[in-house]
Structure formats: structure tokens, C-alpha cells
Amino acid sequence: MAQELKTIELPIHTDEMMINMGPQHPSTHGVLRLVLRTDGEVVVDMDPVMGYLHRCAEKIGETVSPHQFVPYTDRLDYLSAMNMNLGFSLAVEKLCGVEVSERTRHIRVMVCELNRIASHLIAAGCYGLDLGSFTPLMYCIREREKILNLFEAVCGARMTCSYIMPGGIRYGDLPDGWVERCEQFVEEFLAVVPDLHHALTSNEILVRRGANIGVLSPEMAVAYGCTGPVLRGSGVAWDLRRHGEPIYTKMYDDYRFEIAASVGGSYPKDHVYPAIPPHAVLGDSWHRFYVRMIEAFQSALIIQQGLQKYKKSEPVISEPMKIITKIPEGDAYVETEAPKGQMGFYVVGDGTNILKRSRIRSSSFCNLSVFREISKGCMIGDIPSILGSIDIVLGEVDR
């Protein structure tokens, strides 16, 4: 059943044609360029070309203090700025041996999970958009707006937050009424999830466009260094929030959540998620999309727990490090589970307040590397489906 859907039989070959898709193209998610070699409608070979958004982010990190570099991390994966801030802050904190207070930790967890939901909403909406369904995107954006409003309340910025800093968070404790607003948002979001499942996850056309397309085997996913929902969509239950470094995992120690991956053929059973369609194969576009939907749901539950823990915690907020704070000699590397995959920051200090080296391991970059492999032999119409399910952000790919 699954095999026969994969490709159509084409005994007649036509002349191959090179098509240059991008960097200005509606469905390449920014300035990615794809050079397609097509035989009629079938993509024989494909070459992603990147570098159109290279902004020397890593080098900039070696010229300014960590404090000043945080706004640059916002612009890596601009759809999940909080997670980028957190990754860099944790790396610097690990190097300096700084611990943050209990309440700061819960705030960090909450804003990062909120941003994970926001990022996954965009991913899910754009996946629909890439497959020609414009309406679900607007519903996703509507929910995301509420998250951005919450961010605006805590730090004044909506997308490029720079809220989480090495050493703590900015602007002290959460503003009055934020907790109630966040509670209200989570409730509303959990009520909207079934609608999104109805419009996207179990939509027959969308299932047919994603099922058995761009199948990524677990072995290949690991070999190419794919992480995040792309890895978990292939059935590897690996989530740094549980399997990462101590400095990161202890943030989530007292939180209950399931890793959104199919283990032994079944997804987490803590809630009733839509059934897996019969044509879907583990590792295809549909599964990657499905994992994101489950993760967004799980994140909402984490936020609910975080709000309870926040209320009970001591009102002590860790202040960010100063610009003049000296970074000790040595190096540190921390990978965190950003919405798009594992985001790694490598920092080297030399005793001044400026980092000697800063390097970034980008999740989208590694996930994109497998694109060529899994898209061979698909049709032109499947390219947006596969790219949408990999969910890259070019700011992060090019850095």
C-alpha cells in the first residue's frame, strides 16, 4: 500500500530541465535557493544553496561582550528568540559557573515553551500554506499573536526578545497579571488545538500530500545529525530536555512531559491525538508535522505546570551579568532543545569581558543537509511539502 503511493511509473523520460527555485520564492522559507534537476514533474536531483543570509553572527560574538551578543542570538532563529537566548545564556553560565534562582528557572521554562508553541504554530501553518491551504495559517498566527503579546508584556519586544541573559533574566519579576493572562492563553490554546488538527493533521488532502513523502529512516536521520522534530518524526525518542547536559536537563527535572516520538509504533498516549493515517510511514513529512503538533500540546501542559511552580517559588530573580563582567578562561559547550532541533553554543573565554571564540551549531543547518537525500525522485509539488516539514529558518542556517 505504502510503496505504491510513492512514485508514479514513468517509462518515458523527457529532457532534464534545471529549475532555479529561490532565493526569492514563495515556499523556500526565506532566502534558500534550490537548484532542481527535473525530468518532467519528477525531481531527479536537487541541490540546496545557502549563504544568502550570512551575517557573521559567530564573528560578532567575538567582538562584543556576551551581554551584548544576546540580541544577535535573537536573530538566529527569529521565530524562537527565547530559545536562542537561553542556549547562549546557558553556555556562558556554564563557563562562568553561575546558577540562577528557582523562580528565574521557571520563568525561563515558561517563556521558552511559549516560544516553542509559537514556532511550531508557524511551522504547522506554513506547512499548510506550502501545500496550498492558506486558512489554517491565519488561525495559527492568531494564537501566536497572543504569545507575542505575552512576550511584549515581559520584555517589550515581540519577536527579538533578548529577555533571557547570561546570569538571569532582564526586568526583574513578571509584570502584574501576566500569570493570569498566560493561564488564559494556555486554556484558549488547548481549546484551539482540535481545530488545527481538524484543518491540518487529519485533512485528507494534506495527509495525501505528506504521507510517504520524503521518508527519512532513523539511521539516516542520526547519520546526518538531524535533530528535533525531524529526528523524532523518524521514531527516535531523543529530546535534550531529558537527555541533554545537566545544566539544561535540571531546568526540566520537576516537569512532567512526554517525548513526542513514536516508540514501538505508538506516540505518547497521555492525550487523544488524531489517529495515524494508514498511508503514513514513520519518518515521512506527515510524521514530522505530527510530532510538532504533539510537542506544541505538550509545551502547553509544561507551561501550566510552570505557572503553578512559579506561584509557589521564592520571589528571587537572578539579575543578568554586567557588560564588564570578566569571563573566566576556559571553554564551554551547551546544546539545548530549540523548537527546530538541537541548538549548540560553544564559547571560549580568555579572562576579559569579551569572548575569545563563539561558535554556533545550528539545528536547521543539519536538518537541511538531509533535504537532498530524501527528496530525490519526488515530484516538484512535494518539494514544499518536504521543506515545510523540515521547517528551517534561514537566519539560523546561515548565521
Binding site: 508514479i8 530541465m17 534545471m18 529549475i19 532555479n20 520564492h25 514563495p26 515556499s27 514533474e41 499548510g128 500554506l129 506550502d130 501545500l131 496550498g132 491551504s133 492558506f134 486558512t135 491565519m138 488561525y139 492568531r142 485533512n203 488532502i205 494534506l206 495525501r208 500530500r209 515530484m379 516538484i380 509539488g381 512535494d382 518539494i383 514544499p384
Partner: protein, 361 residues
């Protein structure tokens, strides 16, 4: 009215009056078509807005933002008119108008009310299909002449898709033609007068199924989402019209909407009783030609409004589908046509034939 107008001059000169009459009708029909395009442009945006939990256009002015359409028109006319250097200069310029002309021409055989067709043709259903088939030339030519690979792919897709869907669409038209025993759309409309159960769609179970297949094929034949393979903005940027701008782009746009109006008009005559309302109220209030020609004229006006209302409802359904459903892949579109639509219509054709043999009259 036409006879009266033509007989104003001596017999040898009547061809002049015939020509003038034809031009007048043509202007009226094209005006209706263009007005519909403007209204549908606005309606599509409003329906899209409401589907997506937003308001739709309301900033340009006018009640409910109706000035959006004129504003769009002015914007398109003011845009730079580009012809790529790679493009074939003549075919590139010709292509938009081919599709537009084909769509407009079909209007001349569609009766808006009893006897209110610009040109009464006794094989109107056949002629409408034949001219609608010309529609694809504009799209394919645009794809070939643009000198862009996206356009070429779009044109290729359009050629495959629109020509394939002609077959089940033709079958869907043949079934009512067979049931009513005529190809004259006016006669088909008259045959459905009275209560709504006289409508073609309720004539027999096979016609009922055929109507829905017709709706699918009409959507695909007009290149509308979820079958908009030729445009497919997430794959081919804008498909066959990637290189078009300004008024030529607007011509494609008008062509698409006009062919939607025409094909929905065809559908409402063949299946939904054309100008006949669901209840025969015009008969009850003596708005009939048999009482007085003027009353018949008023009745016809009401019929024409009803006919337009049916077209609007059908098009609203097409828009609703467009904004709710994702796009199919190109092979899935062809599968749908060849594996589902065509066998179903063939079966319905056979069924309708047997039904007529079993229950004659």
C-alpha cells in the same frame, strides 16, 4: 423586441439593424460579465477574510469595502507592463486575450431568462462546451511564450489538466442533454419550470450525482483551487502567469472569473432550473407572457435575478472550497479525473439511460 427593432427599416437594410442589435447585446453581456468579475473579486476577498477569522477588505472605502475592486482595477492599469526579453513578443501579448475572449463568447449562448440569450442557438450546450475548450489555449500559450521555466511547467500542467477535465465535464453535460432530449439551453430551462422538484438535479438519482461531479470538474476546468495546478503559487510561483503584470495579468484574472461565471451558469441551467425559482410564484402573480408581454418581461427580470443568484451561490461554494482545502498534487489531480470523475460520469450516463428506458416520460 428584436423583430420590432429590425423591422424599423426596409427589408433590404435589415442586416444593418441586425448588426447594431448584436453589438448592443454584446455590450450588455460583456458589461454584465465585467461587473460580475468586479463583484467576485470583492466577494472572494470577503469570503477569504471571513473564512480566516478576519474582516476582509474594508480600508479602501465604501460600505463593506466595495471600493476594493475599483481600486484594484486602477492599480493594475497603472502598473508597468513588462514583456520579458526571453518571451515571444507576439504570443506573449496575445495569450491573455485568447482565454478572455473564449470565456466571454460563451456568454452569448447562455440564456439569462426565458428567451433572454444574446444568440439563441439550438445546439447551445455543445457550443458552450466547444468554446470553453478554447480557454486552455490562452493558458498554454502564456506558458510557452513567457520564456520562463515556471511558466512552461504551469502551461504543461494546464494543458494536461484542463484537457483531461474536458472529458468528464463533457459527460456531465451530455447526461442532462440526454435527459431533456435537447441541446438548446433555453428549452432545457423551460423544461424545468414549476416547482423545484422539476429541476434537473432531481430528475433522477443519476442526475443528482452528476451535479456534484460537474461541480468538481468545473472547479478543475477553471483551474481553481484545490485544483490550481497551473498556478500553484507554492511550487511554481504563479505558474503560467509568472511573467505577466499590469493589464495582461488582469486579463487572465478576468478570464478566470468569467469562465467561472459561465460554467456555473451552465451548471445552474442544466441542473438547478436556470431562471426558474424553487417555487413557481411568477405564475401565481400572473407575471407571465400569456397574460401580457410587459408582465412577462417583469417575470423574466425576476428569473434573471434568480439565475444570477444561483451562479453566485455556486461560485461562493467554489470560493469556500478554495479557502478551506489544500492543493492536490499534480498526479493526484489527474488520478482524480481519470480514475474517479470519468468512471463515475460514465456509470451515471449508463444509469440515466437505463432510468429513461425504465420510466419513459
Amino acid at each position: 423586441m428584436k423583430t420590432w427593432f429590425v423591422e424599423l427599416v426596409p427589408p433590404g437594410w435589415q442586416w444593418v439593424m441586425e448588426t447594431i442589435w448584436a453589438v448592443v447585446i454584446a455590450v450588455i453581456v460583456i458589461a454584465i460579465a465585467l461587473l460580475s468579475v468586479a463583484i467576485f473579486n470583492w466577494l472572494e476577498r470577503k469570503i477569504a477574510g471571513r473564512t480566516q477569522d478576519r474582516l476582509g477588505p474594508h480600508r479602501v472605502g465604501g460600505r463593506f469595502g466595495w471600493l476594493q475592486s475599483p481600486a484594484d482595477g486602477i492599480k493594475l492599469l497603472c502598473k508597468e507592463d513588462l514583456v520579458p526579453t526571453e518571451a515571444d513578443p507576439i504570443l506573449f501579448r496575445l495569450a491573455p486575450y485568447l482565454g478572455l475572449t473564449a470565456a466571454f463568447t460563451v456568454f452569448f449562448v447562455v440564456p439569462f431568462a426565458d428567451g433572454w440569450a444574446a444568440q439563441q442557438v439550438n445546439s447551445a450546450a455543445f457550443m458552450a462546451l466547444a468554446i470553453l475548450g478554447m480557454d486552455v489555449f490562452g493558458t498554454v500559450l502564456a506558458g510557452l511564450s513567457s520564456g520562463s521555466k515556471y511558466s512552461l511547467l504551469g502551461g504543461m500542467r494546464a494543458a494536461a489538466q484542463m484537457v483531461s477535465y474536458e472529458v468528464p465535464l463533457g459527460m456531465c453535460v451530455v447526461i442532462p442533454v440526454m435527459c431533456f432530449g435537447t441541446m438548446d439551453l433555453n428549452v432545457i430551462g423551460e423544461a424545468q419550470s414549476g416547482w423545484f422538484w422539476h429541476w434537473g438535479i432531481f430528475a433522477n438519482p443519476f442526475m443528482f450525482v452528476t451535479f456534484f461531479v460537474f461541480l468538481v470538474c468545473a472547479t478543475a476546468g477553471c483551474n481553481r483551487a484545490p485544483f490550481d495546478m497551473a498556478e500553484a503559487e507554492s511550487e511554481l510561483v504563479a505558474g503560467f502567469m509568472t511573467e505577466y503584470s499590469g493589464f495582461r495579468w488582469a486579463a487572465f484574472f478576468m478570464g478566470e472569473y468569467t469562465s467561472m461565471v459561465v460554467i456555473c451558469g451552465l451548471g445552474s441551467i442544466l441542473f438547478l432550473g436556470g431562471w426558474n425559482g424553487p417555487i413557481p410564484w411568477t405564475e401565481w402573480v400572473w407575471l407571465s407572457e400569456h397574460v401580457h408581454p410587459a408582465l412577462g418581461w417583469i417575470g423574466n427580470c425576476c428569473g434573471a435575478i434568480g439565475f444570477l443568484a444561483k451562479i453566485y451561490i455556486l461560485i461562493a461554494i467554489m470560493m469556500w472550497a478554495r479557502w478551506s482545502l489544500p492543493r492536490l498534487r499534480v498526479d493526484q489531480v489527474m488520478t482524480m479525473c481519470l480514475k474517479y470523475c470519468f468512471p463515475i460520469t460514465a456509470a451515471m450516463f449508463l444509469g440515466a439511460m437505463l432510468w429513461m428506458a425504465a420510466f419513459p416520460g
